[in-house]
């Protein structure tokens, strides 16, 4: 059989199977180790369901929330301090999770806050991931002084806890932004500071994996057929180092969500005009002493459930993708 005939024979069934491509992938997924392990771990199923629910809640929040908590026109001061699961004693209005001092529905505030928390968390992990993977790939693939430079910076940064780095970058970035724009820019500053504080993990892992992959035969083969360094890195090495990256990204998401909440709680994060879960907890702390426990409890629970579920997912993923544990 000539080469072209063989190629055609190989291609024909693929074309025929084109409509069933997605189905095929799905069947392969159902048959995979990952799904098998997922099915057998009830904790992971619960964690996954919770994460999906919270993400959905954040996604459709503005449409399912009973009110827009940041529109003063929709707030009724008479509804202030309504207890959860009960009607307000003056107006008779019902709020599922109660209201704060200004009559703001907590359920709506949490949905909106969850949005900010998740957006900041996800985007900063993406940022850290792209930056870290790129630098790690470059460092591992090229070696030499560029490797030394990147890894020295990583080492120095790793000397300090990431939350401290994030605070510092936040402070510096805040100083660089004009005073009247600080509130609008706060979310972006937050993303940049958390992203820059977490890239090291990605870079170190990817560098290590790249050093191993670089010496393998398929890379030599790719070199032999005359591929440039760029395509080899992107098309051949990168896909093979992505497994651990997924694990780091998941655990990193939990860390980023907690970092964001911490910064916002400390008052150096999301601005009061766009409160995240951390900001809500910060506000709620004032009412803890006067007995309005629900203002702080529900945002804290949401944050805890979110962080814990993402963490559990990350742990599970790490175990599944670790060949030593199979």
């Amino acid at each position: 059989m000539s080469d072209s005939a063989r190629e055609q024979a190989a291609q024909t069934p693929e074309i025929a199977a084109e409509p069933g491509w997605l189905k095929d992938k799905w069947a392969r997924f159902l048959d995979s180790d990952i799904y098998y392990s997922f099915k057998r771990s009830p904790v992971t199923i619960v964690a996954f369901t919770l994460v999906v629910l919270l993400m959905l809640g954040a996604l459709v929040g503005p449409w399912i929330a009973p009110q827009n908590p940041h529109d003063p026109a929709q707030l009724n001061l008479m509804d202030g301090f309504t207890a959860p699961f009960a009607e307000n004693q003056f107006t008779g209005n019902f709020y599922l999770l109660g209201t704060d001092d200004q009559g703001r529905d907590l359920f709506s505030a949490i949905l909106y806050g969850l949005r900010i928390s998740l957006i900041v968390g996800i985007v900063s992990v993406l940022f850290a991931g792209v930056l870290g993977v790129t630098l790690g790939l470059v460092a591992g693939f090229f070696g030499g002084w560029i490797d030394t430079l990147i890894m020295r910076i990583a080492d120095i940064q790793l000397t300090f806890p990431s939350i401290l780095i994030a605070m510092l970058i936040y402070g510096v970035a805040r100083g660089l932004v004009p005073v009247d724009m600080r509130d609008e820019a706060a979310i972006y500053i937050l993303i940049v500071s958390i992203g820059l504080s977490e890239w090291v993990q990605f870079a170190r892992t990817v560098r290590g994996a790249t050093l191993v992959e670089r010496e393998k035969e398929y890379v030599q083969a790719a070199r032999l057929i005359g591929l440039g360094r760029g395509p080899i890195m992107l098309r051949h090495v990168l896909p093979n180092v992505m497994g651990p990256v997924l694990v780091i990204a998941t655990i990193g998401l939990a860390l980023a969500i907690i970092a964001e909440a911490t910064l916002s709680f400390l008052g150096v994060g999301a601005p009061p005009t766009q409160p995240s879960l951390g900001t809500l907890i910060r506000i709620g702390q004032d009412f803890l002493f006067s007995g309005e426990w629900w203002i702080i409890l529900f945002p804290s629970m949401t944050l805890l459930v979110l962080a814990l579920s993402v963490n559990l997912l990350g742990d599970w993923l790490r175990d599944v993708l670790n060949p030593k544990l199979r």
């Binding site: 939350i163 709680f265 962080a307 814990l308």
Partner: protein, 328 residues
């Protein structure tokens, strides 16, 4: 040995130099120090005089050297927000943070080792499983939530312990305001110390547990059992001792984290330490305080890392002989 120490100290100096450079860049290029120090009615001549006095026209490397020289003598400039020398502010607040950090670290070490040994020995026990599961929650719980939870339970509901501040202090050596010698001081130290140390405690506990499990599986422990040694002797003298090298490393490295996370605990409990000073500096873009804190924390971290590395070297002979090209 000497080569190892020299290389390690060299690395520390490079890190410190970089941190100093960052601190200097923040100090010099962020915002306009002249603008911040002069009022709005300052004339051009005033400006020029101040620029001359601060030496802002000198070449940058000379300014950097002057900055480092000043920092070494405890000169960090004047806080924009409070209008007082930064060094004075830090000296005033450092004892509070150090006491908190030390007590937290001791708490974490003592309870971490204890619980770690227990969960390691009673691997499948009910209580050990409860401890292990709750430690997972403890790790996922952000520091500030732990603090709030403790305040809620022990300060608001039961009213046993104060929820903020340091209580009464005793002045030692003329400047060190200590809470360790008054009842109200000690009481107000309990909640922040637990909040700050809890994460490190779970970390040490898990580490001790996994190390114990590993060590208990080894032949020499089996041999000790066969010899009929008492169980306490096996667990504590033979097993625990051999788990301590990584424990010391982790505890040492975590000491730095404790000082950094003190920022959060101090905010929750309004504990008047350097962390609270730093957070306020960030909110108000008080650059001299930020730069000074960075230098201070940088120095603390580098010193701790250096000491831990050298200790490791002293404790674990493998580090000494594994490194190629030199003997002990």
């Amino acid at each position: 040995m000497l080569a190892f120490i020299i290389r390690r100290v060299g690395q520390a100096v490079i890190v410190l130099f970089t941190v100093g450079l960052v601190a200097f860049a923040i100090f010099r290029f962020m915002g306009d120090p002249v603008e911040n120090m002069l009022g709005q009615e300052a004339t051009v001549a005033d400006r020029a005089a101040l620029i001359e006095r601060l030496g802002l026209n000198d070449p940058i490397p000379i300014q950097y050297l002057r900055f480092v020289g000043g920092a070494l003598q405890g000169e960090f400039g004047i806080s924009y927000r409070l209008g007082r020398p930064v060094s004075e502010l830090i000296v005033e607040r450092l004892p509070a943070t150090l006491e908190l950090a030390m007590v937290s670290a001791l708490f974490a070490l003592a309870f971490g080792v204890m619980l770690g040994v227990y969960t390691g020995i009673r691997r499948d026990g009910f209580l050990a499983n409860v401890i292990m599961s709750s430690s997972l929650i403890g790790v996922s719980l952000p520091t500030f939530l732990i603090g709030i939870l403790l305040i809620w339970i022990f300060a608001v509901e039961f009213g046993w312990l104060p929820s903020f501040g340091r209580g009464e202090t005793v002045t030692l050596f003329g400047f060190w305001e200590s809470v360790l010698f008054t009842v109200s001081g000690l009481k107000s130290l309990i909640l922040p110390a637990i909040t700050l140390g809890l994460y490190q405690m779970t970390l040490i506990m898990r580490l001790v547990r996994s190390e114990m499990l590993e060590v208990l599986r080894t032949d020499y422990i089996r041999f000790a059992r066969a010899r009929g040694l008492r169980r306490q002797a096996i667990y504590f003298t033979h097993a625990l001792k051999n788990t301590l090298v990584p424990v010391i490393t982790v505890t040492g490295l975590q000491l730095g984290s404790i000082i950094a996370f003190a920022i959060i605990t101090e905010t929750v409990f309004q504990w008047p330490g350097v962390g609270l000073l730093f957070i306020n500096a960030i909110s108000f873009v008080d650059i001299p305080v930020m730069a000074a804190y960075l230098l201070l924390v940088g120095a603390v971290f580098v010193t701790i890392n250096l000491i831990v590395d050298l200790l490791y070297f002293a404790i674990d002979p493998r580090v000494r002989f594994d490194s190629p090209g030199k003997g002990a």
